[in-house]
């Protein structure tokens, strides 16, 4: 294993299988969180064709709701953790719908650029109100779920990593079912395909858009809590970097495409982790973004995106 470090020119030092698997696990659990956030970007883009920059701050609010709720339930219990997760998701869904109602709905017929600037404004409003209400100092996020580390061979599997992956997978399956197997999901796809035609067919666009924001924000809240569980120091600006990465993940996978967002998140998380673990760690963000540029050069619509495909 130590010989591996005698090759200064090799970009990655993963010659040991257990280290490779460990990094893969780290990467997948980080990528799963990016994927959850990316889904919110992609869904809103799908129905409204604009990037909701306030999304990463809803993620932050989700973590803070978890922080305050976490004080009310006993630490380290499964039902307590799931309860906090549910409350935070509901809280953020309401927040997301409120933001849409107050800030974006009036601008629905305005140029996209106006909505975009408004989104940046809402984002800054949330960040700096957060600094007023929660304080700028980082806080310690409680261990909501039971914590155990399992050693499998040379591999250390943390229970939090398993929870992150499990919750993400379950939420993505639920999302897929909602979009393809329910009436509201069908309505979402209709609005995405052609809003005017959807209205003519009797779809209430306001309700559908509101629902989309609620759904995306709930996923961001789940992402926020899972992120805070793994990296338990939260502050009002915590959403900025993960939000940016998730945005990249959404574009990488093809914006507007749900499996694409999940795939993009996983790729980005894994690449970032492998680069961080090599001696090129300083360039981890540069390399992640360089990959984005290369993929977009060859596939301008993203990995799974197609220009003509129906978008949600």
């Amino acid at each position: 294993m130590i010989e591996a470090f005698n090759f200064p020119l090799s970009p990655f030092n993963f010659f040991s299988v257990s280290e490779f698997l460990q990094q893969l696990l780290n990467g997948v659990s980080l990528g799963a969180i990016y994927a959850l956030i990316a889904l919110g970007y992609t869904m809103v883009y799908g129905v409204l064709r604009f990037i909701n920059f306030a999304h990463s701050d809803v993620f932050m609010v989700g973590a803070f709701i978890g922080y305050y709720m976490g004080k009310l339930v006993p630490e380290g219990t499964l039902w307590g953790g799931l309860g906090v997760l549910a409350v935070s998701m509901i809280g953020c869904a309401i927040l997301g719908m409120t933001i849409e109602r107050l800030a974006y709905r009036r601008l629905r017929s305005a140029p996209t650029l106006n909505v975009l600037i408004t989104a940046i404004g809402v984002s800054l409003l949330l960040e700096y109100s957060g600094q007023v209400f929660f304080g700028a100092a980082p806080r310690n996020f409680p261990a909501l779920f039971p914590v155990r580390n399992f050693a499998v061979g040379g591999l250390i599997v943390g229970s939090n990593q398993l929870i992150v992956i499990a919750v993400s997978v379950i939420l993505m399956i639920v999302l897929q079912l909602i979009v393809y197997r329910t009436r509201i999901g069908t309505a979402m796809r209709a609005v995405s395909l052609n809003p005017k035609a959807a209205v003519l067919m009797g779809v209430n666009n306001d309700v559908v858009i509101s629902f989309t924001f609620g759904l995306g924000s709930a996923l961001a809240a789940a992402g926020g809590i899972l992120y805070a569980l793994n990296y338990p120091s939260i502050d009002p600006l915590m959403g900025v970097m993960p939000g940016l990465k998730a945005f990249v993940a959404a574009i990488l996978g093809g914006i507007g495409n749900i499996p694409g967002a999940a795939l993009g998140g996983l790729i980005l998380g894994t690449v970032e982790t492998f680069v961080s673990g090599s001696q090129w760690s300083t360039y981890k963000d540069a390399i992640a973004f360089a990959i984005l540029i290369i993929i977009l050069l060859f596939r301008p619509a993203g990995l799974l995106g197609r220009f003509t495909v129906e978008k949600v």
Binding site: Q22, R139, S281
Partner: protein
């Protein structure tokens, strides 16, 4: 601001009246961040200085004259310190200048003190540039090259570490500097840096770097960063099963280290300027007097350094036998083995303090004094 000033000067003036006769006092200027964003540091340091002046006057001041401390608040703002230093020197006719915590603001005042030939002592500015401003500028805290050397000594002699892994923040000059100053003496002394990993400020995920560190089986991990990242690094390192000692520098010193790190920071170490738990009699007396004066508050490192800056100055004035700037400067430069609260202080040729550092560990959720490392 004038009101604040008067409130600060009055008790000192009262103390002077009791301690010494109607002799004209030795005027010492102090510029400090009493309000604004570094107010916590500025207030701590100022309280230490205040206590020192009071104790000096209780024992008769120096040269048969009492000390008078004239304090001005720079509101933690850029640009204020230069104005204040000019005012203190030209209008108040101070004989020496004390300040500041932040290196940036010490750098503003230093050239003014230098031009006026007024000795200046910074209690806790650690940037090497501060004392490079001129021959009249001194400091009583250690600087990072010395801290790095002391950390290397600690790693070798106390931790018995031969093979150390390094995890450095590339976006913080403090971290990069401390890593460099640690590495050189550590390798010279026969130690080995087996792997060097990097992160950036505000990173939260260190698992990748730590996973790369783990199979190299280091004897210890050195993390020369600030407390927020250090706490998360300890947590993730323990999760991944890295159970060797983790240690850092004075950037770790904050209650948040334990709040965020929890049980993961148990058994980690860092170096700092001073510990209120030190067994030395002088430290214990200082802690007791400080608590008596400031409503039971325990003095932190800033207070101890603020105290030492005034005491080192008084010592130099006594040895010089005059308050004449150049003579006091020479006496300050000749300070040798002055035993202060923050250790034995010797001023070197670059007018920095050569002194010991204190090693602190975390035990049962509390900071505990381990040992003093002498250079």
């Amino acid at each position: 601001m004038i009101k604040v000033l008067r409130a600060l000067v009055l008790p000192v003036a009262a103390a002077c009246a009791i301690a010494a006769s109607a002799q004209n006092p030795i005027k010492v200027g102090e510029f400090a961040s009493l309000t604004g964003k570094e107010a916590a540091f500025g207030q701590s340091s100022h309280k230490g200085t205040l206590l020192a002046i009071e104790e000096l006057n209780a024992t008769g001041g120096a040269l048969g004259r009492p000390f008078e401390l004239i304090t001005e608040d720079n509101q933690s703002k850029q640009g204020e310190s230069a104005t204040i230093a000019k005012k203190l020197i030209s209008r108040d006719k101070i004989v020496a200048l004390l300040g500041e915590v932040a290196s940036g603001r010490s750098l503003e005042a230093a050239p003014i003190a230098q031009n006026a030939r007024i000795p200046m002592i910074s209690p806790s500015s650690t940037n090497p540039k501060v004392t490079e401003m001129g021959s009249y500028v001194f400091r009583v805290c250690f600087i990072d090259p010395l801290q790095g050397r002391l950390l290397a000594k600690f790693a070798r002699s106390t931790l018995k570490a031969q093979r150390v892994a390094l995890l450095t923040s590339v976006s913080s000059p403090y971290s990069v500097g401390l890593a460099k100053y640690f590495k050189e003496p550590f390798v010279e002394g026969g130690g080995e840096i087996i792997i060097e990993q990097k992160y950036s400020e505000n990173d939260k995920d260190f698992k990748a770097q730590l996973t790369a560190i783990k199979p190299t089986k280091p004897d210890a991990v050195f993390v020369p960063g600030y407390y927020t990242e250090a706490a998360l690094i300890c947590k993730q390192a323990r999760d991944l099963g890295i159970d060797v000692p983790i240690f850092g520098g004075d950037g770790w010193e904050a209650p948040q280290l334990i709040e965020i790190g929890g049980t993961a920071v148990e058994g980690t170490y860092y170096t700092t300027h001073y510990s209120p738990e030190s067994t030395s009699a002088a430290v214990q007396k200082f802690v007791k007097d400080f608590r008596a004066k400031f409503a039971g508050e325990t003095p932190d490192a800033m207070s101890a350094l603020g105290y030492d800056s005034a005491m080192v100055l008084a010592d130099a004035i006594k040895r010089a036998g005059t308050t004449d700037g150049p003579k006091v400067r020479d006496a300050l430069a000749a300070t040798k083995n002055y035993s202060g609260i923050t250790g034995s202080i010797t001023i070197d040729r670059q007018r920095n303090a050569t002194k010991s550092a204190v090693v602190v560990t975390v035990k049962d959720g509390k900071f505990k004094f381990v040992e003093t490392i002498a250079p």
